[in-house]
Symmetry: C5
Subunit: 307 residues, 5 copies
């Protein structure tokens, strides 16, 4: 374990050796292994948005084995997916790449302003499939957030006792938040804090905008002149809001976007002290060769090999 990894692991010294070992496995895997930076491939969009919307742009992605292979060849730190997708490849790729069982999921066949995901996985399944971590989504701001916090409490407690790491997707949504507010800097920072308080080892949030959503919070940001003007500053503030940098915070890319814009965002994460990216659609919704090249650039930005 190098110094940076040791330093990061010092944030988790209350955890038992099993969970710590799995965090180290993730931090030390792939091309960013040992740098303290991470790039994770998540593929739950088949469930979350539907198969054609996810895989028609690159039909190879209908096959769950494709994503195991992509994550492995690109040199990602880990691969995250729902139960069924992991079952499809866990035996074949056993031990080749750290797996994260995404243990709850949401579909769009009915709409809901205050969403609640269904619990679709469990610690028992994560252990059976050889996963390094369980992943769980919370929607702070949803009228159903309490239910998700309590499901996470229970899942995380069991996961930690079983020596797994816990990754939390913290995505503000709900009938009282504006669409813009879902990625407002005050709201995203709050979401990161909640995930940290709930015991997440790794926290995934969306990249925040400069929008300030809540009146009470806005007053404080303005009074204390919290710097949130640039994306890097906002990343820094979110990382600060997750125990002052003592929790691994990674940022998601969202829908398919212009490559250069993604690279800009990656640079902002890097410069703001973020720990890395979790990139789904931008990776798998293009051909394999193109995807590998794209991820190579991302990884090299994090590795400091290119600006």
């Amino acid at each position: 374990m190098n110094d940076r990894i040791s330093q990061i692991m010092s944030f988790y010294e209350s955890d038992n050796p099993g969970s710590r070992a799995n965090l180290v496995r993730i931090l030390n895997h792939g091309r960013l292994g040992g740098t303290g930076r991470l790039v994770i491939l998540p593929v739950d969009q088949g469930f979350e948005h539907g198969p054609a919307r996810s895989f028609a742009p690159n039909p190879a992605g209908y096959n769950p084995l494709y994503h195991f292979q992509l994550a492995l060849e690109a040199g990602c730190n880990a691969y995250a997916a729902p139960l069924g997708a992991l079952e499809a490849g866990a035996a074949r790729y056993a031990g080749e790449i750290p797996l994260i069982l995404k243990a709850n999921n949401h579909d769009v066949l009915d709409s809901d302003q205050d969403p609640l995901s269904a619990v679709t996985g469990s610690v028992r399944q994560a252990l059976r499939l050889g996963c390094a971590a369980v992943g769980f989504t919370i929607y702070p701001g949803s009228a159903q957030s309490r239910t998700m916090y309590e499901q996470l409490r229970s899942l995380a407690e069991e996961a930690k006792e079983a020596g797994l790491a816990v990754v939390v997707w913290s995505y503000p949504r709900g009938s009282e938040l504006s669409k813009e507010g879902e990625t407002g800097i005050d709201v995203v920072a709050y979401a990161a804090q909640i995930a940290a308080q709930l015991g997440a080892h790794v926290i995934k949030v969306k990249l925040p905008s400069a929008h300030l959503e809540q009146a009470e919070a806005k007053k404080v940001y303005e009074k204390h002149r919290v710097p949130v003007g640039s994306l890097a500053e906002r990343v820094r503030h979110v990382v600060q809001s997750a125990f002052d940098g003592r929790r691994i915070v990674i940022f998601s890319g969202g829908a398919r976007a212009d490559d250069e814009r993604v690279f800009e965002e990656v640079r902002a994460v890097r410069d703001g002290g973020g720990f890395g990216s979790i990139i789904g659609r931008n990776s798998f919704q293009r051909g394999r060769a193109d995807a590998l090249k794209f991820l190579d650039t991302v990884i090299r930005i994090y590795a400091g090999e290119i600006q």
Copy 2:
């Protein structure tokens, strides 16, 4: 185990030997044994639609033993029914045909736009009755879908630990879906994907129409020109949406219909790469001799003995 069965079983290599053995039992049973195709007889309509609507056309069907016998003589791969119906014949027909305990059921004595089935069976009962699998219905699109997904998660976890196979009926329904949308190709493909992600070994869906229900999905189908014009193409797309063919997908026939139309559909399933049919009312709502002849034709189409 022949090559085709070995190939299919390679999709399930994360599963334990018990579940794999039960899948093989189903795949190798009956007249289609070893072909990789299946015809299953399901009889839960007494519960789902009422006894007279189900059995008055052929009163012999009031007797649960009739269906065991019909499935056996027709050479089906398996017989599926609710708890009570299986209890009525499981001892007498012990070991003669793979049984699937249909573990949730819905009746029509009260209406519900966002339906939820009642859990009526359990893994303990399936084991006690010597079943090869448990069956479970989900209604993606229902406001109550989360509850069903979580019931399935729990049932499937327990079933897999007990070495059973898991068959999921995935039928989109709900107040936000149009009647036409319930069998729209985008929706049926999504339903197959959800069942796969939830860990189904075998997925049962309805035959899809060319209708596209969801605006976001429609854009993608049109942009990427996903071929869904013929029924065989749609079958192929649904099978693709269930892990690119790496899960057994079978198609249901629906209400009593013209025989030739059913045979046409069976050909489309065969040609589109579907794994088979699950045929209830079209089988048992006619006299025994007629039913055996009808099923014989279906089986011979799948077996390639006739066009």
Copy 3:
């Protein structure tokens, strides 16, 4: 075990010896022992309608011991009552008559169009009190029917594992059923089917009228000319709807009525192939001597000693 009892018991050959033994105990007890017919005394009206409405006509009935004694002297096959009433006499009458613990109850202190009974008993209590069976009411048609089906699933599973018999009161009620529809032949037959599918050993329904409630069902009854004109025909159809006579179906008498009308109904049950009657208020809401005489006539009709 005589031939008729052996035949009936052949319907339950999937059950374990404990449950079968308790069914035989009930079938072989009392004056109808060995005939395959049953008369059961149920006394839960104190809970369901209130004490004065139940017992003021014959105040001896306030005392729970009275009913044990009545059932015993009349030669009934079994006595059914809620927890408290059984506790009051189970020790004194231990082993003298098969007991059925009525494990859920409903009162009329608040109204409800879609009723749900409270679970008031359990398998543990049934075993402690030496019962032969548990009894449970479901209200098919109620918006809360799913809850009751699932409570029954769990209770029945536990009861069967403990070697008890399971008796289901299946009474259609709910905001979408007309008052007339609650006893319509299509609805009662459906209720019997549901109870059978849920795993009941013994099914109790109300005597059906010739009314047809559901439009879809009505079409089928008319198209296939299902004979439901006479009460005996309707009894026969209900019995057919409960696995073609392979489940014990008994009929309830309802509120206090003219004796001759009750005897007429008993004859119809007998002639239609019903297994017997469960008669509460008509028995205990009159003096003891009169009640014994009344039950004697009922029993003799079933026994074939009188027309």
Copy 4:
């Protein structure tokens, strides 16, 4: 055990020796020990109505030890209170007076027409604190009555297995009952019946008025001329409605009232065959000497020492 106590205990012969022993402990404790009559001190008003409303009239009552001492010196049969109050004195007064853990409670900080109490105690706590019984309130008539019945079912089952006695406060309330109806004789008698059916060993109800609330019941009371004109007659009818006197039924006094009126009520309970009183506010909302004198009179009326 004298004859009267033996007679009472014969009503509970289905119970195990532990519960029977605790009932005997209560019946044989204090100045009414062995008479078959009881006076119990309940102090849960701090929770139910608030501390000042309960204890400001006699501030010594803020101290939980005061009530242990009062019950002991007055020679009551038992003392009933919520968890915290019992914890405050259970060690100091260990073994000196039978304790009843009041295992659910309701406060008045929010209003509710269909009330539900919170479960605040448990059998484990009752055993830890050396209690002889658990107490539980049900509100028959509340739209939430089912929940309370089922909580009681579970608590009582566990209590009886642990050898405790079960005391049920049965207080009709709910949006469909008139205020007058809550103490109407038909409703109170029904409440006593429900408590008995749910397995209560001891039933506490309010003193009933001559009001008849439910139309169906009224008809029966009038047709059968059930005598409910005097308070003693109504007490007798309530006792009859609780298994014809085969369950211990005690009556509560309600809010602070004129002493002579309370003594009149006590005489009516005695003459109507009631088993005793449970007297809270009338006891502890006055000075200690006065309270002891008041309780002495109540006890002597029950003991037959004075009229």
Copy 5:
């Protein structure tokens, strides 16, 4: 153990040695150790109000280790925080200061007039992290209060069996309480009583105003001239309402305020017989040196070293 601590511990003589030991650990820790007074540092505002609103005034507070250190250096009796914050420092500060795991939390990303906190911690986690106590918030007056009372019942039972102490934050809130009523003396006293009855060892309430909220209570306060004119009198009445001083009651400071006002309040707590203060935002929302000086004054007021 000195006399005052022995006296306090005599209030808890029903508790097992483990819980008593942890109470003594808290009472004997820090600069007020042995005085029977307490100052506790709570830091859950990151969760409850958001990170910037909590920590922007003193950004060092984003780091959870800062608060462990502050509580330790200031000589507080204990430090209370949610799961994640405790995990961040529990290993590093193991054994240095008694910890209280705040086991439920509430955020302000969605509004709720009848609030319910999410359960975010557990006894297992408290034991794993070496805590001396669990903390839990109830909102008496909320339509959801019953749920919280029952969660507390279960948590407290488990905590006491595991030898932990139980600290209850009792904060009246709900749609039927006026804003002023939340801190009205009748309501705060009632909240203290409820916490005591639910089995709290330590009760935290807000400082009460002279407002009287509930009409029924107001009558009693006026009739019996309960002295609630001065803050010290109100503190005394609240302490009296928590078992007449036989439970540890501490008072919270609320939002950042003028120092002199806080000191005045501390004097009132001291003079009214309160056991101490729990001071969050007034401590950590200023620089470290300033905070230490501020807490030093508070502690010296309680210690009697200054007026």
